[in-house]
Symmetry: C2
DNA sequence: CGCTCAAATGACACCGCTGTCAATTAAAGA
DNA sequence: TCTTTAATTGACAGCGGTGTCATTTGAGCG
């Protein structure tokens, strides 16, 4: 039988209300008392019954993660990270597909809802954000830099990371470096492209429109863009892609065109998705801690609901340049 | 404000206990009364407060998914599927790393625990199963065929699927078909290899020890096994792998040995993991509905806890042969 | 038509915790 | 040392359901 707050109270020789206070970290408990209670709780292996707590205190405890394309690797990572965060805090995680007006209204009326976790593309969709603000629904954005009144974002420095990976290629001697963009609707697409341009500019290399191709994060779009790049008059010696799937597409295009990677062409990705490791050659890429970001977002959402944090903040997680086999020195 | 059982009772003109009965599907309620209650509940948009229900009725509501290597694609899929099932049933999902004796004892004592979901390799580890049986912990296995007293399994027919994909290659004219196994500790490894052998035998092809190589489901082991196969005196024209990652490794080895796939060599995988689609050439493989299996496992666990289902059952989910670019006719 | 007995319904306690507010204690000031 | 006042602590109700058991209802039958 599981110990209750009353058992602990008896054991510690205080009223059960005091135990409750300690368990909730309330300040008005004398240190000595607190100690006693904690010891008793430990001894009885006590943990609060969250069902009872939820029933009585009407504090919201549901975090809803809004997902659109569940199969994408970052969506999965976000889900897993968010779940870890929720589990740690004793919150419930609900996964919801892009909610319609009706669902929003229901959410706004739901006093158990702590808030939403938004990942791209929702996290930087002005329409969505506006609707949420209008409905008075709290939310936390993952992986977006765009400011929005009253919302915090957990992200990474996409622009800087993109610059780093381009810098790395330049360091290898490359000068004709092409870039395959993500979809324009994604804010990160812009940031990553800007990072590439920052790097090129800083090294005095020319940024040519011919070397920048549109993509949409899909493998197929990577293939297509690379085919164009590899068959134009001035061919790149390196291609930086806005994500790993498109980089995988580049590799496929190179293979079909009999261009060896990395001997004749270097290819870089972004995300460090699972594919980066099991493709040949394995991808040089940027590792992004999507899971940690999502987890952190849940934690912040929870904290935020307690002590109203500063709005408009961005919390940045570290990224890491992962060097693998798909990049090498510029061919002679 | 959310409607309570009492509101519904008033609206329907019955006692709140009757409403409770209806909400729990108890039989001793007259159809006419039930109708009234349901209508009232609908009208007030009522749903039971799960916190209150959990508090009072001490029925277990926690499902724990045992995971070891969270990053594996099937582990992620299992997690997402299990979560979907839990959400649907209003259960809580907890993720736990390989539990030690201590953790097991705690689980056995935890009367909120509905049961465990086990995926490979735990799901067919006799030691683990025995410990669970001894501790009296209910569990549900995903993707394992091995019988175990009192447990049900949700799986697929690995052997048949493996035979199908080999049959497909034979249909393309291949006769020298090699096989790269999964780790021996995994039961599916055995089943999949047997499927390959079934197919070879049925077509009157010789099963040569030289053509069967050990692997461990990792990319690296796929590379290694393929290197051996592609450099021995009698080289295969097709390689069947026990999973996609090893097939990706084969592709890499083929590339390094200048063997074009599928022109000179066909490669088949198993799982239809995300990598199968974004690799070049894309992998012919077996699609396995891991998510659905895990979800189903949760649902069965729940049902099972109510009406003690028949033990030792296996519920099979459909699989599908996915033909992509990595396989082709036998070279002339 | 009254009686019996199972089926249907209701009354009420209580699950384990938190909110409210009153009671107690200790610290500080007179 | 005795108030005064703030800091601690405790008593008690009640969150929204379910379990137990008593009560009412109505179908079947003599």
């Amino acid at each position: 039988m599981k110990a209750t707050i009353i058992d602990v109270a008896k054991e510690a020789g205080v009223s059960f209300k005091t135990v409750s206070r300690v368990m909730n970290g309330e300040t008005s408990v004398r240190p000595a008392t607190k100690e006693k209670v904690l010891a008793a709780a430990q001894k009885l292996n006590f943990t609060v019954n969250s069902a009872a707590r939820r029933l009585r205190s009407k504090q919201p405890h549901v975090v809803t993660l809004i997902l659109h394309n569940v199969s994408r690797s970052y969506a999965q990572d976000a889900q897993i990270g968010a779940m870890a965060g929720a589990q740690e805090l004793g919150l419930s995680l609900v996964i919801e597909d892009a909610p319609d007006k009706d669902a929003l209204a229901r959410m706004a009326a739901d006093d158990t809802l702590l808030g939403l976790i938004l990942i791209p593309p929702f996290s930087h969709d002005p329409v969505v954000l506006e609707e949420l603000d209008a409905a008075g629904i709290r939310y936390m954005r993952v992986g977006s830099e765009m400011d929005s009144p009253g919302s915090i974002t957990v992200g990474m420095d996409d622009r800087k990371a993109s610059r780093e990976i381009t810098d790395y290629l330049i360091g290898l001697g490359h000068e004709l470096i092409a870039y395959i963009c993500g979809p324009e609707a994604h804010e990160v697409s812009l940031l990553r492209r800007l990072g590439y341009e920052d790097s090129m500019r800083a090294s005095g290399l020319t940024i040519s429109a011919q070397m920048i191709r549109a993509g949409d994060f899909s493998y197929a779009s990577g293939v297509k863009a690379a085919e164009v790049l590899l068959n134009q008059d001035v061919q790149p010696t390196a291609i930086v892609c806005a994500n790993d799937e498109m980089a995988a597409g580049c590799l496929a295009a190179a293979y079909r065109n009999n261009i060896r990677v990395p001997e004749k062409l270097s290819v870089a990705g972004f995300d460090d998705s699972p594919v980066a490791r099991v493709i040949y050659p394995s991808l040089t890429t940027i590792h992004q801690a999507t899971r940690d970001m999502a987890k952190r977002a849940v934690i912040l959402l929870h904290k935020n609901s307690l002590d109203d944090a500063a709005p408009g903040d961005v919390e940045r997680m570290a990224h890491e340049l992962i060097i693998r086999e798909s990049t090498g020195p510029v061919p002679q």
